[in-house]
């Protein structure tokens, strides 16, 4: 693949005596949606955090646009064009929606000493982006801490989509979303992929993954189980891999095969 | 010989830094190995512990100030029982003997306050305030008490914190709200005396009599130029110097004076102030 944006090779990550990642290899190309799947605690979040500069890998190399690179902070990764929706959302509850939306990348107006945070423009962009995702905010200065779970998650997604220049990483972005918002997010993924952005999508929902994914990598207990293209695998096989090969409890019948 | 001084005032307090300079000078002059120690704040419990620590080292002599005989008594008695010669200084003249202390060098805080009060009354003061920057410090409270008794007119105590700006504002407030106040006694020259003069000047009250305990170069300048009445000098350099010298001599030759040494009070008025300024700037007076 000539258009690989980011390539991670043999990533290991230890927390004290806990081995969270034990050699994971992964890449994402422009214009594709690469799904990262796996059981709870498999290491997905830890992995994407090394990709977005939050954690330094204990071992392994990162190649960004062909050059070896190591992000020393999330800001570096962001400036390289990587935007992330973290599983814990990285929101400040006491701050307003707009301030959270633009945190770290505030639009300014004016010049020199008068260069200031362009609050009006920011409010407008923020309301508009949220509306695109299916949430009508009451006011852009509502504190994020008083938003509902789904509203909050939508802020994080809208923010990442707005700033995701080259790679967009989404860690379980639809977990708290309603049906309408979920379908908006999935179609947004489709749209940005069309614009040549590489998307890393983490989900526990096989159906969501199958709906937008081009490739699927499954992690299990800190290691890669393998990568498959969309046409090489079925929902059922994927679900089996995600469960780490262990049996599922009954009830499946009424769920129609996939959870 | 090893001599340890335990005082209740801190090394960064202008008054006590002069005592400490006296201690050091005596150490240099006699060749004794001296150490000056004090608790971080006016804290009798901590001071007792410092005396205990000193006693454990069994020095050849111990110098203590005794602002609270009840609290420090046991520790001092322990020193005496251990055979360490003890001299008290600054405060405690009335209780020293009873604790087995050999002699006392200093002035009674109450008497000094009283002397100041009498002097201010004789200069024409009719209503006074006593500005206390550390209420609850018994030594300072005694000064105000003495002042009130010696002044024999109405005296109000103004408590403040250790901040010159606040002292200045409070003195202004006191003068502003009660025009009858015409006498101010400060309990520290740089912390109270100087701001008090500034406050009176700002209000154009040249008639106010201002006196202060202890010396500072700035306050002495006010005295010499007539903006303040006088400063009360305990000559605390002596309180540091003499006990150490006595104990050093005692260790070497077994000498010891036969009675207490009064180091003050000494009122520094306009004529004397000029010559004291330089010495004060060097931390000797």
């Amino acid at each position: 693949m000539t258009n690989t944006i980011i390539h991670m090779e043999g990533i290991k990550k230890h927390f004290g005596n806990v081995i969270a990642l034990n050699g994971v290899t992964f890449d994402v190309s422009s214009g594709e949606c690469h799904c990262l799947l796996g059981d709870n605690g498999a290491g997905k979040s830890t992995f994407i955090k090394t990709m977005s500069g939050v954690h330094k890998p204990t071992e392994g190399t990162i190649t960004f646009e062909g050059k070896p690179l190591s992000f020393s902070s999330p800001r570096d990764a962001m400036e390289a064009g990587i935007a992330t929706v973290f599983q814990d959302l990285a929101m400040i509850p006491l701050m307003s929606v707009t301030r959270n939306f633009f945190m770290g990348r505030e639009p300014t107006k004016g010049r020199g000493l008068l260069k200031r945070f362009d609050v009006d423009a920011a409010n407008e962009v923020c309301m508009e982006e949220m509306r695109k995702m299916g949430i009508n905010l009451r006011a852009p200065d509502q504190a994020v801490g008083t938003l509902s779970g789904g509203e909050r998650q939508t802020v994080a997604i809208a923010r990442a989509v707005y700033f995701g220049a080259k790679v967009l990483i989404l860690d379980e972005p639809t977990s708290a979303l309603g049906v309408r918002q979920t379908s908006n997010v999935l179609s947004t993924i489709d749209r940005v992929r069309g614009q040549g952005i590489g998307v890393v999508f983490i989900s526990h929902n096989v159906r969501h993954a199958m709906a937008v994914g081009d490739r699927f990598t499954v992690l299990n207990r800190g290691q890669t189980l393998g990568t498959a293209k969309k046409d090489e695998i079925t929902s059922a096989e994927l679900q089996d891999l995600m469960a780490g090969g262990q049996e599922l409890a009954k009830l499946e019948g009424s769920l129609g095969g996939t959870i | 010989s090893d001599i340890i001084v335990v005082a209740h005032g801190q090394a960064n307090d202008p008054f006590w830094s002069v005592v400490k300079n006296g201690v050091q000078k005596a150490g240099e002059d006699t060749g004794a190995n001296v150490e000056f120690r004090s608790p971080e704040t006016f804290d009798m419990v901590a001071m007792g512990q410092l005396i205990d620590a000193a006693v454990n080292q069994e020095p050849d002599g111990l110098v203590v100030s005794i602002p609270d005989a009840d609290a420090l008594g046991p520790a001092i008695e322990r020193a005496v029982a251990a055979g360490i010669p003890v001299i008290s200084m600054n405060s405690g003249s009335d209780v020293a003997k009873g604790l087995g202390v050999l002699l006392h060098v200093g002035q009674s805080e109450y008497d000094a306050g009283k002397a100041a009060g009498e002097k201010l009354a004789s200069m024409g003061g009719t209503k006074g305030i006593c500005v206390n920057q550390e209420v609850g410090n018994v030594a300072l409270d005694l000064r105000c008490e003495g002042f009130a008794d010696g002044f024999a007119q109405e005296v109000n105590v103004i408590p403040t914190q250790a901040d010159p700006a606040e002292v200045e504002s409070k003195v202004r407030a006191a003068l502003d709200s009660d025009p009858d106040v015409d006498t101010i006694l400060g309990l520290g020259a740089s912390l109270v005396g100087e701001p008090a003069v500034a406050a009176a000047q700002a209000l154009g009250r040249d008639d106010v009599l201002i006196a202060s305990f202890d010396l500072s170069a700035g306050f002495l300048k006010h005295v010499s130029e007539g903006r303040a009445a006088f400063a009360i000098d305990q000559q605390q350099f002596l309180q540091g110097y003499l006990p150490v010298a006595f104990l050093a001599l005692n260790a070497e030759y077994g000498l010891m004076p036969g009675g207490d040494v009064p180091s003050g009070p000494n009122l520094v008025t306009q004529d004397a102030a000029g010559q004291v300024i330089e010495l004060s700037a060097q931390g000797i007076r």
Binding site: M103, G104, R105 | A11, P14, D163, A165
Partner: protein, 368 residues
């Protein structure tokens, strides 16, 4: 993508009066406290307290405290404390005194050098906090002791044995910059006002208020700039984010470390500014300057509505907090109450002021 039919009006939002909107701003809560305290003294204190000269009198210490308090509030919003600012006043005062008296430097050099020295201490504090991950409380506590100790040693060294270094005023006689850092501003205006009777005068006709003490102007300036920075600039957003959740902020691309170090430098420089103003004013400096001021600065910030946990507060709040504190400390002297009750009164008034503006705010905004 989705229907834009719903307009901005929302059936799930009750309409809100202007007063409610106003009271929701935390900084304005502290104003309630100021009003309460003013009313109290208006009724109990001597009338001279609220004359122009009386007001200047309690505003001067309030301004000195407020300069520190506003800086402390910004640092606290950024999630950290600085306990060394009180000692920093003594330290910066010592540096400034030595530069002007012993080295004879003019203000144009002495002031930047003093501020620079303070800023570098602040940077060291910040760097230690960030490198070690220790709470700033404990790191700057060490700074509290160390700076105070160094000031003592330095003063003794340069004054030849005393804990006081004097002669600053003489050394700066005629310095062109002295007007900005000491004395009173608008002097001619006030003497004009006095001559036409707009300002009280002494019996001899001189104005009772020579001008506005410069620290008050600095105080107002700092409050305005700090408010602007906090609410209207990207950096302000970073400060709130850093204090709200430094992990989340860092993950969102906020340069958390730079923000924190800058804030430590700012508080240190605010302390140095107070030191410069008070040292020129008094003409001398000593080892006890600024004693306990770190504490009062934090109080000021908290009265003004800052949360100790960071991420919430305002500079305007600290501004009013300083005024409340200044008014209460000085005010009792204007009353006829027994001065022994000073501390009881101080504590009681502080609590009352804070509880009062809390109750008002809740009543008005309908929170529980």
């Amino acid at each position: 993508m989705t229907s834009n039919a719903e307009s901005t009006s929302d059936e799930r939002v009750k309409s809100e009066s202007l007063v409610t909107k106003f009271m929701k701003r935390p900084e304005l809560g502290a104003m309630g406290g100021v009003i309460l305290v003013t009313i109290f003294f208006y009724m109990t204190a001597d009338s001279t307290m609220f004359t122009l000269s009386g007001t200047m009198n309690f505003m001067t210490p309030a301004a000195q405290l407020g300069i520190l308090g506003i800086a402390a509030a910004m640092l606290m919003i950024g999630g950290e404390f600085d306990l060394s600012i009180g000692s920093m006043i003594a330290f910066a005062g010592m540096i400034f005194g030595v530069l002007t008296v012993n080295f004879g430097l003019p203000l144009i050099l002495a002031i930047p050098l003093t501020l620079g020295a303070a800023a570098s201490v602040g940077a060291v504090n910040g760097t230690i906090v960030i490198r070690t991950g220790l709470p700033s409380f404990i790191v700057t506590l060490a700074g509290l002791f160390i700076l105070r100790g160094v000031s003592l040693v330095g003063l003794k060294l340069f004054s030849g044995g005393s804990t006081q270094l004097r002669g600053v005023r003489d050394a700066l006689e005629g310095d062109p910059l002295i007007e900005i850092f000491s004395g009173d501003a608008f002097e001619s205006l006030f003497s004009y006002l006095a001559s036409i009777g707009m300002v009280e005068t002494f019996k001899n006709g001189a104005s009772k208020v020579p001008g506005i003490p410069v620290e008050i102007l600095w105080f107002i300036l700092l409050a305005a700039v700090a408010t602007y920075v906090l609410l209207r600039t990207p950096v302000g957003n970073w400060i709130f984010a850093t204090g709200g959740d430094s992990n989340a902020a860092s993950n969102s691309g906020v340069p958390v470390k730079k923000v924190k170090i800058s804030l430590f430098m700012l508080t240190a420089m605010a302390a140095a500014l107070v030191a410069i103003i008070t040292v020129i004013d008094a003409g001398s400096t000593d080892a006890r300057r600024g004693f306990m001021k770190e504490f009062e600065a934090i109080i000021t910030a908290v009265i003004g509505g800052c949360l100790l946990t960071g991420g919430y507060g305002s500079a305007i709040g600290a501004f009013f907090g300083a005024i409340i504190f200044g008014m209460v400390t000085i005010g009792l002297t204007y009353t006829n109450f027994d001065q022994d009750w000073f501390q009881v009164f101080l504590g009681g008034m502080l609590l009352l002021a804070v509880v009062f503006n809390n109750v008002i705010r809740k009543r008005v905004t309908g929170e529980h």
